[in-house]
């Protein structure tokens, strides 16, 4: 082995392995956390937007996942479609006309529960199935749709999407089939149907059942509004804002962007993770290379006696650190890939390994290593040659 750098790396295999693992940890941290956060965010946004209803009507405030999810009266669904007239019970009610251009509406409850798989979380929809299918192109691949939740035999039944059915397990740990029992909102539900495509949450139960379980009778999370023609969407939005001020009205195709804005804290978290990854790489290499320099003081003295310049010595140490870092990045990617495969096979989490973030993770690993080696390299380059060559 004639390469000094390769020989040095091979001389202390355990220390090299620890350094490589240290760098890999930073890379895994960045790759998996960023991949997980973005994967879940994109998947949720995709499913949120994968509906036919062009407009979403929500209570005032943030769309973020927080607080009581059933904060909007479900009566808005009927009011938007048919208008509002004073009644005998409420003679002072301000009359409002039906919103022009609306073809269908459906009240939807949405709840985030801890994942049954034990890692992460998952969303559950509460539906009025009869109106919901008028606002989406949801079709049943197997079984039947949801009941209204009023009849005792329809109260605790659920439909799931194909992804859930393919990867999920029932309460007995068996694959999800029609008739399987699954846990939703800490209760046992029977799978009545499997639908596609993935729309909103992967598990859907009757809205009425969700209202009872969450203590929000007559309420929902939002109302989906399907227009007679897509080009009427802006007009519908304008009318909804005029007749129902104080609520929030958004176009469905704006939802992915809103998710990104609403999840700004996640972006901050990702930056913290990136910073931590960088710090880990810097510290691991700094420690490893500093120890190496102390151990190889005499060899550095030999290099100096041979006429090696400071630059030559710095480059040797930096190249060694870069090689260790590159090995760490490779190991980190391999472990992150295995982690992604395991998570996606055993949980309903989605990890997106985007090229941009893989590049950032690789840069963090290698740059962290190079930065971490600067001090030891400068120290080595500035050693007194006579003292170094006499070092024991």
């Amino acid at each position: 082995m004639d390469s000094l750098i390769a020989a040095n790396i091979g001389q202390r295999p355990l220390r090299t392995a620890i350094s490589v693992i240290g760098v890999a940890l930073g890379v895994i941290l960045v790759t998996l956390f960023v991949g997980l956060a973005r994967g879940m965010m994109h998947d949720a946004a995709r499913r949120q937007s994968n509906v036919d209803a062009e407009v979403r009507f929500l209570p005032g405030g943030n769309v973020a996942l927080a607080g009581n999810p059933l904060m909007l009266s479900a009566r808005y669904a009927d009011a938007i479609l048919h208008g509002v007239q004073p009644t005998a019970d409420d003679p002072d009610l301000e009359p409002k006309p039906p919103i022009y251009g609306v073809a269908a509406t459906s009240a939807v409850g949405e709840y985030v529960q801890n994942s049954v798989a034990g890692i992460g979380f998952e969303m559950v929809d509460g539906l009025d199935y009869a109106s919901f299918i008028n606002t989406t192109h949801l079709t049943l691949a197997k079984g039947r749709g949801l009941g209204d939740g009023l009849a005792p035999d329809t109260e605790y039944e659920a439909i799931v999407d194909r992804y859930y059915a393919d990867l999920g397990k029932d309460i007995d740990g068996k694959p999800v089939r029609i008739g399987s029992k699954i846990t939703v909102l800490a209760h046992e539900f029977t799978v009545a149907g499997i639908y596609e495509p993935a729309v909103l949450a992967r598990v859907k139960i009757p809205l009425r059942t969700m209202q009872q379980l969450l203590g929000g009778p007559e309420n929902c999370t939002f109302v989906m509004v399907k227009c007679e023609r897509p080009e009427l969407a802006d007009q519908v939005v304008e009318q909804l804002r005029r007749y129902y001020p104080g609520n929030r009205v958004i176009l469905t195709n704006e939802i992915p962007a809103l998710y990104s804005q609403g999840l700004a804290p996640v972006e901050i978290f990702l930056k913290v993770v990136i910073g931590l990854g960088l710090i880990i790489s810097v510290l691991v290499i700094l420690l490893a290379m500093y120890t190496t320099i102390i151990e190889r003081t005499r060899e550095i003295g030999i290099l100096k006696s041979l006429g090696a310049s400071k630059r030559f010595i710095v480059m040797i140490i930096e190249k060694e650190a870069a090689l260790i870092s590159a090995m760490g990045v490779t190991l980190g990617f391999a472990v992150a890939l295995l982690g992604k495969l395991w998570l996606e096979a055993n949980t309903r989490l989605i990890v997106e390994l985007e090229p941009k973030w893989l590049l950032i993770a690789a840069l963090i690993g290698v740059l962290g290593g190079i930065i971490g080696a600067i001090y030891p390299a400068m120290r080595a380059a500035n050693l007194d040659p006579v003292e170094a060559i006499s070092y024991d």
Binding site: L4, A7, Q11, L303, S305, L306, G307, S309
Partner: protein
């Protein structure tokens, strides 16, 4: 004739705390091209300090060191390093080979530092290895070699880039008589066949007897320059 090395009134004072410890007190020496010089003297007389200054590893407190017309004492640290790379070869008592590299790897590293390139002169390398009897040891690491073989690899590494001066600090100090004899023969051969200038520090009178000239140092001074008994007269 221009000397390959000239030191003029070389002085070196070490500072140990508030104390000043003089190591050289005006050492003056002239070495001609192709000369084989042995430096002898008791421990602490300044031999090693002298060698380190001549090799550009130390900067003297005062005085001048001129190697092939270049004044070492007027140079910056980086310039001295460059001169050492171009004109000096070191051989140490403790061999100082890279333990992780093979014999050939040690030579290649020296060539790379010298030339700054990966592409080197394999013919020259093979020639030096052959001269030093190391053709069959090229792929051995230092720990797989005897002390004598290690020192021969160190000599090969020191001369691979044709230095103006080979500086040897007790090159036989860690060797038994037989290996010492082999190493001294090799150095003599380098001096005779290639007119390699050699300055060797030694405590060993038999080793010094192989040189053209013996310099004796005492208390930081060059006190005597003599031709050893049995040496060939008339060398420069």
């Amino acid at each position: 004739m221009n000397p390959v090395l000239e030191t003029i009134d070389l002085r070196m004072v070490y500072h140990v705390g508030k104390m000043e410890v003089p190591a050289l007190r005006g050492a003056t020496l002239r070495v001609e091209v192709g000369e084989y010089v042995a430096i002898m003297g008791p421990s602490g007389c300044g031999k090693s300090t002298f060698l380190h200054i001549v090799g550009g590893m130390l900067k003297p407190t005062s005085g001048r060191v001129v190697i092939e017309g270049e004044d070492l004492t007027a140079m910056t640290d980086a310039q001295r390093t460059d001169l050492r790379r171009r004109k000096i070869g070191f051989v140490f008592q403790r061999f100082n080979l890279f333990p992780t590299l093979t014999a050939e790897g040690n030579l290649k590293l020296a060539e790379r530092i010298y030339s700054g390139k990966k592409t080197q002169d394999p013919a020259r390398r093979q020639g030096v290895l052959r001269l030093l009897g190391l053709e069959d040891k090229t792929h051995h690491k230092p720990l797989e070699l005897s002390g004598g073989e290690q020192q021969r690899v160190a000599i090969a590494r020191a001369v691979i880039n044709r230095p103006a001066i080979l500086l040897a600090d007790e090159p036989t100090g860690n060797l038994d008589t037989e290996n010492s004899d082999v190493v001294l023969n090799m150095m003599g051969q380098l001096n005779k066949e290639f007119r390699q200038t050699i300055i060797m520090i030694t405590h060993n009178a038999e080793a010094a007897a192989r040189a053209d000239r013996v310099i004796e140092m005492r208390d930081g001074h060059v006190v005597r320059s003599r031709v050893p008994a049995g040496a060939v007269q008339g060398r420069p």
